[in-house]
Symmetry: D3
Amino acid sequence: MGGNGKEKNHAAELSNHFSHLKIADAIENYEDSKYVIFGVPFDNTSSYRRGSRLAPNSIRIAYDNLESFEPNYGIDLTQCKISDLGDLSVYEDVSYVLSEVEDVTRIIFNDRKIPVMIGGEHSITVGALRNLKDVSMVIIDAHSDFRDSYFDNKYNHACVTRRALEILGPNKIISVGTRSTSLEEITSPDYKKVRFITANEVRESGISNVISEIKNSISDSVYFSIDMDGIDPAYAPGVGTPEPYGLSSVDVRSILTSISDKIIGFDINEMTPLYDNGNTSMLAAKLIQDFIASREKAILNKNIK
Amino acid sequence: MGGNGKEKNHAAELSNHFSHLKIADAIENYEDSKYVIFGVPFDNTSSYRRGSRLAPNSIRIAYDNLESFEPNYGIDLTQCKISDLGDLSVYEDVSYVLSEVEDVTRIIFNDRKIPVMIGGEHSITVGALRNLKDVSMVIIDAHSDFRDSYFDNKYNHACVTRRALEILGPNKIISVGTRSTSLEEITSPDYKKVRFITANEVRESGISNVISEIKNSISDSVYFSIDMDGIDPAYAPGVGTPEPYGLSSVDVRSILTSISDKIIGFDINEMTPLYDNGNTSMLAAKLIQDFIASREKAILNKNIK
Amino acid sequence: MGGNGKEKNHAAELSNHFSHLKIADAIENYEDSKYVIFGVPFDNTSSYRRGSRLAPNSIRIAYDNLESFEPNYGIDLTQCKISDLGDLSVYEDVSYVLSEVEDVTRIIFNDRKIPVMIGGEHSITVGALRNLKDVSMVIIDAHSDFRDSYFDNKYNHACVTRRALEILGPNKIISVGTRSTSLEEITSPDYKKVRFITANEVRESGISNVISEIKNSISDSVYFSIDMDGIDPAYAPGVGTPEPYGLSSVDVRSILTSISDKIIGFDINEMTPLYDNGNTSMLAAKLIQDFIASREKAILNKNIK
Amino acid sequence: MGGNGKEKNHAAELSNHFSHLKIADAIENYEDSKYVIFGVPFDNTSSYRRGSRLAPNSIRIAYDNLESFEPNYGIDLTQCKISDLGDLSVYEDVSYVLSEVEDVTRIIFNDRKIPVMIGGEHSITVGALRNLKDVSMVIIDAHSDFRDSYFDNKYNHACVTRRALEILGPNKIISVGTRSTSLEEITSPDYKKVRFITANEVRESGISNVISEIKNSISDSVYFSIDMDGIDPAYAPGVGTPEPYGLSSVDVRSILTSISDKIIGFDINEMTPLYDNGNTSMLAAKLIQDFIASREKAILNKNIK
Amino acid sequence: MGGNGKEKNHAAELSNHFSHLKIADAIENYEDSKYVIFGVPFDNTSSYRRGSRLAPNSIRIAYDNLESFEPNYGIDLTQCKISDLGDLSVYEDVSYVLSEVEDVTRIIFNDRKIPVMIGGEHSITVGALRNLKDVSMVIIDAHSDFRDSYFDNKYNHACVTRRALEILGPNKIISVGTRSTSLEEITSPDYKKVRFITANEVRESGISNVISEIKNSISDSVYFSIDMDGIDPAYAPGVGTPEPYGLSSVDVRSILTSISDKIIGFDINEMTPLYDNGNTSMLAAKLIQDFIASREKAILNKNIK
Amino acid sequence: MGGNGKEKNHAAELSNHFSHLKIADAIENYEDSKYVIFGVPFDNTSSYRRGSRLAPNSIRIAYDNLESFEPNYGIDLTQCKISDLGDLSVYEDVSYVLSEVEDVTRIIFNDRKIPVMIGGEHSITVGALRNLKDVSMVIIDAHSDFRDSYFDNKYNHACVTRRALEILGPNKIISVGTRSTSLEEITSPDYKKVRFITANEVRESGISNVISEIKNSISDSVYFSIDMDGIDPAYAPGVGTPEPYGLSSVDVRSILTSISDKIIGFDINEMTPLYDNGNTSMLAAKLIQDFIASREKAILNKNIK
Ligand SMILES: [Mn+2]
Ligand SMILES: [Mn+2]
Ligand SMILES: [Mn+2]
Ligand SMILES: [Mn+2]
Ligand SMILES: [Mn+2]
Ligand SMILES: [Mn+2]
Ligand SMILES: [Mn+2]
Ligand SMILES: [Mn+2]
Ligand SMILES: [Mn+2]
Ligand SMILES: [Mn+2]
Ligand SMILES: [Mn+2]
Ligand SMILES: [Mn+2]
């Protein structure tokens, strides 16, 4: 039994009949795509409720039930040039995973495509940021994630914003939805270098004032990172570290879609199907659609290709 | 062993000790009832998350925990002349089921009673509509349900509003909560013949403006159909096709109770206990109570019997 | 709106379209039936894992998936003259419920029919026994149920066998599968008046010796009561009081079917869908089928009607 | 083997290595504590969805994931002098349990400490109230709990507010979130002696008006009782008796924290992990933190110790 | 943005970092593989408990936890030349799916490789069989699957064995574990053309006699089809149509591994993760390993490559 | 508020009303006890299905439902002098936890008491073994746990038997139920220094021969460690790493109780309530009872105190 030409034809012929699980609207190859989706099934630094390693496929399965047409923007997602690379090969070590994410997103950024990374836990965001400078960052998160290290690990998912600050510098990061932090974090002199808009502040100021503030302070290139626990557990029950009194799903969508034309990288993370009723996977899937559809619409409106 | 008179007395005597599962306030016989509840345990055209065939009994069990007294309206539901016929005998074929629903609701409408149909999937609504003309229809739904056919089936649950339009004609149908539709549907020339009030529009206009619009456009006879997925998954997690960014449970109640005096037929559908924590069954049970109590109160206020 | 003749015809006409949830093979009326199934949705004396009140409908729903034909006996269950009365109307008080069960089963016994009672908790058995004398009783149970009273209640489900002994007298009761009892029970002078065949003894003697012993000691009329926790939790996970090291499902079937020709009353109880994966409901449903099919076959073989 | 001195040293030495499950911030002994947490794992008068007996430990496990620092108030909970006594030893009889609660809270009140009682079912509140007079009471609840007795039991959880009225007298009790009551209750002449602020009224008046009313009517000492079903099932799915159309979690927090400086006793009850996705336990845990942190902050602001 | 050479290198470079979900030991390409695994995520003719469409990925995820080394046979699965093609692209129509399965397995059979098909429902087996003649077939199944058609569909999963008989002819098929059939099936004149070894017969004869009978009657080429419901629900709770009194997992393994050297095609189906605790996925994964490891060992022993 | 004498009396008085969750029969203080139960809520080296950190309390809650009287041995467990210390205080680092277990069990062994340790994961066993020499060890496990290190950690739960061999030396350890190992492990020259009795071997030899072999090879002092995954997933579904084809629960009980008179230390581990239906907790609770009751009975028989 060998690998002669005839058999290779069979492999090719067979591949027409098969598909790997991917985001339903990701009908393009990498080369022809603008949005490059991939999963990072890693949850090794999480301690409370694990399972975010199972999220990428759970979100792909949920996405399958969404219409390709997004009526708010009049956008057909199958026209949006989306590819889905599958899941990054990961191992136990967070440093290795971050380095893999860094390598992969470097290629994608260099090709002027937009990475759409599905976690896994929040720690993975740092790998993508390492390729960036002079960009703003918007984070949705219940937690400040501002520890210098956690369990002796600087790359624990509780340290993401701190690592981001080191990479991007002061006054570049806005984190929305904060309602959990530690004394150690809040009293850090660096804490003020990030703008934490608490969930209470969103409720008090109103979402449109929050969006105005964000719009006024970001630069033209934004990395957007959604930790699903930023959203209230009523809307996103299946997360690793639920915190009451969160943002509404609609407010998170508003923030995302109001600045999507500036977004050059995107991730969504910390969802765990082990504690979900299916609706958190669905919301994560929809947020990916909202991001791409709103961005395409904004670009159409600007007559920019 | 036979069927002599003595034994028949025994059957009658026994029946005093037994009850079939029914809506707790449904203490009337059909003849003496005004509201005629029945279940349609059918979910055969559903593909994503099945299980709505199990909803009627799940809702009956949940209803059992509600008080018979509805304090918002000061109405005692046991005085409302409600009967519960049990579940329609259904088979695999949707056409057969629609024809059964048509036959049964024809009798109920002819007797000037109000059918309260518990699905099962949304497709069943079409059977009831076939008996009606010159009525308005109000639908709560996340989906436009406006496909001409789906999987080669014109009676799939994705085609309900389209079928309704064919029966009732243009400018008769208002569907509230829309946030999922396809390009094929939205570009259909018939799409404008239905008023789709999107969930976004409800949030932007406010529920009282939406209710005003509905009140201004409906006729004196309204068929009201609640696809539970119109409500946000936070409030109604156990549905077949969850869609984020939905209506609040309170807003749906407001729409329903503000026009209940004009409602001549009612259904509630697409709930599935397989994905529920029990609270969707409870909300469906309560919406049935809200409908009947608010309608009875409105009628009392009008001094109409 | 009234109750005139025309409307009554409508009620009758409607009833052709509807069915209440019942055991699928229960196609007879009470008068024409030989086996009279009914549920007793009562679990009020249970303290550990409640929910057996939900079992009757759960078992009916599972039964729906069984074939009507039982191949081990070549019996078509739809020919077995089975009726299903629905669920007994129960209230919180166990004494009331027992008295209802007593009244209902008295009628059934008097009509020379066989009650097939679906619990609900084990306590309900006592109501049926009150109508019987000079009968043997076979119980499947992990527990001796031999307390004189429990939580000040002589009718708690922990006292069933003790109450049965008081009704039927010594050397009439065999309880198979025992593996949990208290010092108070085992040292009671009455304990020896019941033959407790422990689960260990079944494993050591072998099921055929156990069946021989049972056959040798019972009289021609047997009441058979299955507490589902007699079966090992591997086969029957959804029970109120699981006990490891139980009987196999096949052994319980063997005991039941080997003496079914003598059984004049039957119940199955203590199943709770709240802790089930669906398979305990299915096993309970199948045991009902096994009982009726094996009994009918045995009667056919004896040329007895 | 004996109890000599040497061994006792071992017991003491061992105890340094062990901890019993308790609220993570409860690092004080009873004597040195101001807030005295304890569980009452009792759910025996509950009939619909049991399981609140499992809530105290479920809430302790959830609490473990909260930060000790509460950023809204800038309070470190480990500085708040909290002890956790474990769970009250309970038996089946509600009268016994109430008497135990009464004894325990008498000691705590006499020591001028604040009991923080974790149910279990709502009935337990009555035990604490028996030690109080001339205090106001604020209740969060979906139900009026105003039956005189239920299932022949005056201490059923459906009678809590009625019992409270008998103890505290008229115009002392405000119950917020009401949306379920019976005709018997609402027509009782005593019903007006309690101020029931319905969930509808909260939505219509706005939460700040509600809080103003509460502040204006309470005395300087308030007992605060949270029946978790007062909160909407979207935020608190795991409760024994869910009722749609409830209060938001944020509104309940606002009421609680706005008057926490006057609270001299607190309980939280009716949560059941059997129907939870983990988020109801977390919300209950957080409400305990909100209570203590906001109270400590208010006291700091008043320069009162 | 285009598709120039440089970008294509990037796509290739990226692909080194990614993998699609596949059976962990499937480290070969199609050309170099001997065992060709693929999923068929189709469950459209199933009516009772759907969800087998989700089984292929659930089994792949479970497989990930198995050691690559199979100690019973001393075989390292990574040396067994296994490929995993992913999941067949399926649509709603069973005829289309069967035709796809037929096309794909024809190529695999022609390349003298062994298809290892993961369902989805049992109906898919028929597609593979269409390529075969002069082979024996061994089926593990609780059901005779011998209806001529079901719900007007000859390719329903209840008709698999009947269709197989039409393809393979009489005395070629052995189905083990039968315990559910209908009168219509068992009285069909064709029923005797298949050897149904009931689960009872397995228990009575003993598994080694059953294996001897199978070995004596099969030809040198065998197609092996495992409907997971053949196994008792204690071992395989997560199936679409559970039937009590089934085969033990060990007996099914014994049958499979005793003849694996003759197996030229294999499938495993009817597992549904929606009703599973994870252990049915794991058992299905292990049976795939058992098949391949035992077959490789048998071939090694025969000095056949 | 201080710590004066009067208040201390209150603390003591209060403690009479409270209990911490413990094994129901553990009514003794440490000093007066012979069996010292404690939990080790640690699962940090587990990667597949976490949650064994939640097992100690889950097992305590299940135990609550067992009778104190064990009828197989005629032993009243409340007479067996059992204490429950609660849960060891653990942190993230496995080395720290092992050192804590070592310290605690050293004290217990020195006091000639028997530690009964409830995991948590299997890794914890090593801490207890460090205090022992010249003892035999019997392990129940599906896995050989014989890796030298895993994820760079010599104390991972996959290395337990290897570490045990280093401590106890060759020919001292018997591990029963093996069915998963790696090539690296089985080819290690040290593998033969442990007697691995595979699950297949148990089925082929019969449990009594296995027990004879064990009795013949052990010394007078035995440490017994039960990894719950040694038992088949049918009986123990809630484990971290399920493996099909395991031991029956009855066989594991037989092994344990046949040598319990020689056991000087005992642990039970790897149970996880997150994947359980409640029955694995119950089986673990019962195995603790079986151990103590059978050991006490054996000692009684020997007239040894
Ligand atoms: Mn985060
Ligand atoms: Mn977070
Ligand atoms: Mn619809
Ligand atoms: Mn819909
Ligand atoms: Mn019993
Ligand atoms: Mn029992
Ligand atoms: Mn209450
Ligand atoms: Mn309440
Ligand atoms: Mn089949
Ligand atoms: Mn089958
Ligand atoms: Mn182990
Ligand atoms: Mn293991």
